[in-house]
């Protein structure tokens, strides 16, 4: 399924923050987790994750540190900050509102689609 680009972009911040709230991580592992969480249906062009991470770092939501990975390469690890957690909370509330609104409208649509609930069309 192709998910609209704007939707992908909008969900990137809460997804990345939530994944980092689970545990500190680095780019490649974050992408693996996104793919896991979405059952492989949310596809990012891999590289685009990094500008997102850098933006979050600039805004002070995550902090990055270079360290040596278990395979011996230098790797940049990201950790969520207190501000990042607050931002994640704010984003969660926003998405829940949107989600609730959509659920309501979906159920209304589903009801309309059932003919016996629409006597005027009988």
């Amino acid at each position: 399924m192709d998910i609209n680009k704007d939707l992908v972009a909008a969900s990137a911040t809460p997804l990345v923050l939530a994944i980092l709230a689970e545990a500190d991580s680095y780019g490649y592992a974050i992408l693996k987790r996104v793919s896991e969480l979405s059952g492989g249906r949310l596809e990012w062009s891999d590289g685009m994750l990094y500008p997102v991470l850098h933006r979050l770092e600039r805004l002070g939501y995550v902090s990055g540190t270079w360290a040596t990975s278990d395979v011996g390469r230098r790797r940049k690890y990201y950790r969520i900050t207190q501000r990042g957690r607050e931002q994640l909370d704010a984003q969660r509330r926003q998405w829940q509102t949107v989600d609730a609104a959509l659920r309501n409208v979906w159920s209304v649509l589903a009801a309309h689609a059932t003919p016996d609930l629409l006597p005027q069309e009988c």
């Binding site: 780019g27 062009s45 500008p51 850098h54 600039r58 805004l59 270079w66 940049k76």
Partner: protein
């Protein structure tokens, strides 16, 4: 297998060289991406792909490098090759030749505009200073706005909206019945360019002036334009001296030529040329403003701290003369400038360092000095009442004081790790309209309140 690894390493090295050429990415970005690429290749070979296939798939998954370096450039806009990256494949890009022609025509137009009033008996010189004081910024800023609007591809409607602001300024400046020898006319003449600079900024950002990063670019642009302008002015002074000398050698006086043509036309034309140079070659002196701030911040700290210490040591108060208030305003402007350009050039991700502490010391000591001056001035005003000059200087002082005080607070939070540096950046960019609004108030409201005196 060894041959395979070697080939893979070669591929990766080529890829890295290619990425480095894409200008949006700095060394650590590439390193981070390479780590990603190697992880991906590792996972793919583990699932059975050959090394070279894995490399191709991994590179493809990273995505279009062009799009990527543009994303990086957009995110790290403090890396100033942004213009180059964005300009390279910008479909609306202007060819350098057309741009040169446009700038030359506009500079010439500004030069003509400044000489035109002479046809109506308002030549440069004694008798018409008042006319030029009223209109000086209107000879050059509209042309600068036209150039920037053209460069940003703004439509005619957008440009018209900006030019209406200049027309309104012209109407106010020329219809207000200013009293000769009054204070409100010089005040309006000084503050008008500051207010109109906002219109230039709107054109510069292509009407995206609400975005903090765009405002930051405009701050950098202003600083670089100023530096270029000073350089051009120095060159112009040398040219004038040589011209005068050469003509004197053949027994002719070139003073008329210089003072009526070279000086005024050069002074307005140089603004256009300077703006064009900043736009064309953002790389040439992009580091000038930060270098100057690095040199002068420690020096100003030294002077201010010495001044405060001397004042405490000797117990001398500030002697209130006419110019004292303006002098302290200028001090705050310089400190603010040092702060602003240090902020604009700083890598927002770098951890707090020695220079940041120095910067905070500068701001705090300037605030202390200013508080002392303000107390003295308040006493004077309560004794002698408000005049336009005193009110304007006091207002400016407060506008600057609020900015610096809050900056000091944000800076100290940053030094204690409580807030990201971007908070300070955002504060500076969101404060910009305050200057314009205050300047506008001095131009429009002051003459009415003080009866054009």
């Amino acid at each position: 297998m060894a041959a395979n690894t070697e080939a893979l390493e070669r591929h990766i090295a080529e890829w890295r060289a290619y990425v480095v050429r894409g200008r949006g990415m700095a060394g650590s970005d590439v390193e981070e991406l390479e780590d990603h690429l190697r992880d991906e290749i590792g996972a793919l070979t583990a699932s059975g792909l050959a090394a070279d296939e894995a490399f191709l798939v991994a590179v493809k998954r990273i995505g279009s490098l062009n799009a990527l370096s543009r994303e990086f450039a957009r995110e790290h806009s403090e890396r100033l090759w942004r213009q180059l990256v964005l300009g390279a494949d910008d479909p609306g890009g202007k060819s350098p030749r057309t741009e040169t022609a446009v700038v030359m025509v506009l500079a010439a137009a500004a030069a003509v505009a400044v000489r035109l009033p002479e046809l109506f008996g308002l030549g440069l010189g004694p008798g018409s200073e008042e006319f030029y004081a009223r209109n000086l910024s209107l000879f050059v800023l509209p042309f600068l706005t036209i150039y920037l609007a053209w460069k940003r591809g703004l439509g005619a409607a957008a440009l018209a909206r900006l030019l209406i602001a200049f027309a309104a300024a012209a109407v106010i400046m020329n219809l207000y019945p200013f009293q000769l020898q009054g204070q409100t006319l010089p005040l309006a003449a000084i503050h008008l360019p500051i207010a109109l600079w906002l219109a230039v900024g709107v054109a510069y950002t292509g009407f995206r002036w609400r975005e903090s990063s765009e405002r930051m670019h405009f701050i950098r642009f202003s600083g670089e334009l100023f530096i270029y302008y000073v350089l051009i002015a120095l060159g112009g002074a040398v040219l004038s001296l040589l011209t005068a000398g050469m003509f004197r050698a053949i027994g002719l006086d070139a003073e008329e030529l210089i003072s009526r043509w070279l000086l005024p036309c050069g002074a307005v034309g140089a603004v256009l040329v300077g703006a064009w140079l900043v736009e064309m070659k953002p790389g040439v002196i992009e580091n000038m403003a930060p270098v100057l701030t690095r040199v002068f911040t420690p020096l100003f700290v030294l002077v201010l701290v010495t001044f405060l210490a001397t004042m405490v040591w000797t117990g001398r108060g500030i002697v209130l003369e006419r110019e004292v208030l303006i002098g302290f305003d200028l001090l705050l402007v310089v400190v603010l400038g040092l702060l602003l350009y240090a902020v604009s050039a700083r890598d927002p991700l770098a951890p707090p360092g020695l220079f940041d502490r120095l910067q905070l010391t500068l701001v705090v000591s300037a605030l202390v000095v200013d508080a002392v001056a303000l107390a003295a001035i308040a006493a004077r005003i309560s004794g002698f009442g408000f005049t336009p000059n005193r009110t304007a200087a006091l207002g400016e002082n407060l506008v600057l004081l609020v900015n610096l005080a809050w900056s000091a607070w944000l800076y100290s939070r940053f030094l204690r790790g409580r807030a990201p540096f971007s908070a300070l950046e955002r504060w500076q960019t969101s404060y910009l309209p305050v200057y314009a609004v205050w300047a506008l108030a001095v131009v429009i409201v002051f003459p009415l309140v003080f009866g054009f005196a």
